[in-house]
């Protein structure tokens, strides 16, 4: 059961990462990037690393997609 859970979350992360990579428009990439970070957060919790999970949740799911969105908006306007 435990191994199945670990494998399932690993698979979830892999699928989410694939979606991020195959999204070509950077404008749309921020949303799957955020979801990918959420999947990574779940993975870290399952692997009993709550400290890293908190970092990933705050930085990966919130700050980085926001920076990407703001940068794309600025660069796209030129």
């Amino acid at each position: 059961m435990n191994t199945a859970l670990l494998l399932m979350t690993l698979l979830l992360v892999a699928v989410a990462a694939l979606v991020v990579v195959t999204t070509h428009d950077p404008r749309r990439q921020a949303a799957p990037l955020s979801v990918f970070s959420l999947c990574l957060t779940v993975l870290f919790v399952v692997f009993q690393a709550p400290d890293v999970a908190l970092s990933e949740l705050a930085v990966g799911a919130a700050v980085v997609p926001l920076l990407v969105l703001l940068t794309v908006r600025k660069v796209g306007r030129r």
Binding site: L54, A58, A62, V63, L66, L67, L70, K74
Partner: protein
């Protein structure tokens, strides 16, 4: 283009081979023998720090954390230097349409995020978390003001001049704490405060102090950093 692809292929294959070699020698998940854990656990218990990760971050490897803190400070200084505020005095952005449900959840979650951030910072030595995580939660949670309220509300409740100073002062105080340890005990960043009772809020010596300093630095730094990105993304003068 071809050369670049070839180079990437060679590099990627090398990294993949190294990763496979490393994974093959990794101890199995949940195994009982682990050298680092057997060294860290007694050290953390001696220092009355229930959260082993914080014990590593702010006691055993506090010097590494100083380096990481400096990286955050350098990133903020870099953004401040490279992203000068736009020149033109454009009007602050117009209020766009936000779904009422989003607005409502934002108002609901703003106090929750702030309390959670403070909790994660202050209990870094007891429960999962610490200065870095709590600081980022505080900084991002504060931006719910923009999502639910307005940009001018965020601007009014975001004293950037103070935050820039707070970031620098917190980084400096981390070094000062380390130097105090050097003077009192003879080791840079060594603990010099009483260890207290195991599991109580005021315990674990310098671990909560350093955690709070990092929390202050990270929260202020991330807000300052995001302010420049927001100013450019929304196209207005600071």
């Amino acid at each position: 283009m071809r050369t670049r692809d070839g180079l990437a292929l060679v590099g990627g294959t090398g990294v993949a081979a190294l990763l496979v070699a490393a994974f093959l020698r990794m101890p199995a998940v949940g195994e009982h023998a682990h050298v680092y854990r057997d060294l860290v656990l007694p050290a953390a218990l001696r220092a009355n720090t229930p959260n082993l990760v914080s014990s590593v971050n702010f006691d055993l490897r506090a010097f590494d954390t100083l380096g990481e803190e400096t990286i955050v400070a350098a990133a903020v200084v870099g953004v401040l230097a490279l992203l000068q505020p736009p020149d033109r005095r454009a009007t602050p952005p117009q209020r766009g349409y936000v779904l009422p449900a989003v607005r409502f959840s934002g108002y609901l979650l703003l106090p929750v995020a702030v309390v959670l951030g403070l909790d994660v910072v202050l209990h870094g030595h007891l429960t999962p978390g610490g200065g870095f995580q709590g600081g980022v939660v505080l900084a991002t949670g504060w931006h719910l003001l923009y999502l639910s309220g307005s940009y001018s509300a965020l601007q009014r409740l975001r004293p950037l001049a103070w935050l820039e100073h707070a970031e620098a002062v917190a980084t400096g105080l981390y070094v000062a704490t380390g130097l105090t340890g050097l003077v009192v005990t003879g080791g840079f960043l060594a603990n010099f405060l009483p260890l207290g009772r195991f599991g109580s809020l005021l315990s674990a010596g310098t671990v909560p102090l350093l955690s709070v300093l990092v929390g202050l630095e990270v929260a202020a730094g991330v807000i300052v950093l995001l302010s420049r990105f927001l100013a450019h993304g929304l196209g207005h003068a600071r």
